[in-house]
């Protein structure tokens, strides 16, 4: 039996689903007309094509709803990195991302399938709401390589409500 996807993994994939659906719907393409994609995880692959958007959960906070209660309001620190090919594209992409996620996104519970691992079954499981923590250019200095030359970081605090 395949391991059930945790809430963190479902949250990451829900955001990527939301971004990719909107990237296609809004026809967000680079200057060469290539569709821009969003992907889960920290950048590590060598086959990356710029521009691209990545998102992942970094930390979870398990706050008590009130003092003495064992009910928790989980909140998740999500990092969205935008890797652009020039400064204009960076600013356009970050504005698009911030506008799109502003109202939150649908949280899905995913069930992996052994026969079709790339297409897990998904069931809507609430609304992921968010607060912006930071929205800033990643300035790593001069003479950096292409991936780091026009980077932007958006960090958000996400919580899930409803079912």
């Amino acid at each position: 039996m395949a391991l059930t996807w945790s809430k963190i993994r479902c949250l990451e994939n829900s955001l990527i689903d939301f971004l990719n659906t909107n990237l296609v719907a809004d026809a967000i393409k680079d200057i060469n007309g290539v569709q821009i994609v969003a992907r889960v995880g920290r950048k590590e692959d060598n086959d990356w094509q710029l521009p691209c958007i990545t998102a992942y959960v970094d930390t979870i906070n398990l706050q008590r709803i009130f003092v003495g209660s064992n009910y928790r309001q989980d909140s998740y620190l999500m990092i969205i990195d935008i890797y652009a090919t020039n400064e204009g594209e960076r600013m356009d992409l970050v504005t698009w991302v911030a506008d799109k996620i502003n109202n939150g996104f649908t949280f899905y519970n995913y069930t992996p399938s052994e026969s079709t691992p790339n297409s897990p079954t998904k069931v809507a499981g609430g609304l992921a709401s968010l607060n912006f923590l930071s929205n800033t250019r990643v300035a790593l200095g001069q003479n950096v390589d292409n991936e780091d030359a026009h980077r932007h970081r958006v960090s958000i605090n996400v919580w899930i409500s409803g079912s």
């Binding site: 920290r42 706050q63 990092i79 923590l133 790593l140 970081r153």
Partner: protein, 155 residues
């Protein structure tokens, strides 16, 4: 909501006293938040590092700007003393690419670069990228809770 207060003092004196009380309270709150922020960012740096030397964590400290403003992490000081602070937070793929990130003269010892000036020491370029530690974002998230807690303590 309106609150009417009747005092036996002159109106100006009461307003002055009330403002002083509120200001003193605000000073305590912002100092407390600065203390918490300093502890949190140090903790987040040390917890996310494989083998922390403490140099980066030590470079973050609270600093008073005026009676109601505190800051943690002076960018000019960080750039001078720990110029890698951004790379550790955001992660960097640039190492070993066209970015001339030479380490100061020294040698590798158990996975850590030890600076030195012996005949056997040399200059080197790290071979692996730095993974993002996100210690600033972690601290911002923790501060959201800390602000609520500190404010609720003062009620």
């Amino acid at each position: 909501m309106k609150i009417r207060v009747t005092t036996l003092t002159k109106p100006g004196e009461f307003t002055k006293w009330a403002t002083e009380v509120v200001t003193q309270d605000a000073e305590i709150v912002v100092r407390r938040l600065a203390e918490i922020c300093e502890v949190l960012i140090k903790e987040n740096i040390l917890n996310t590092s494989k083998m922390p030397t403490g140099a980066l964590a030590d470079a973050f400290f609270k600093e008073q700007i005026n009676s109601l403003s505190w800051g943690v992490g002076d960018i000019a000081y960080l750039n001078k003393t720990v110029p890698y602070w951004r790379h550790v937070n955001f992660g960097s793929e640039a190492i070993n690419a066209n970015w001339q990130h030479w380490l100061p003269k020294g040698h590798w010892d158990n996975g850590r670069w030890i600076e030195g000036n012996e005949d056997t020491d040399y200059f080197d370029i790290p071979k692996t990228p730095i993974q993002a530690h996100n210690y600033i974002e972690k601290t911002l998230m923790d501060m959201e809770i800390a602000i609520q807690r500190v404010l609720s303590e003062r009620k």
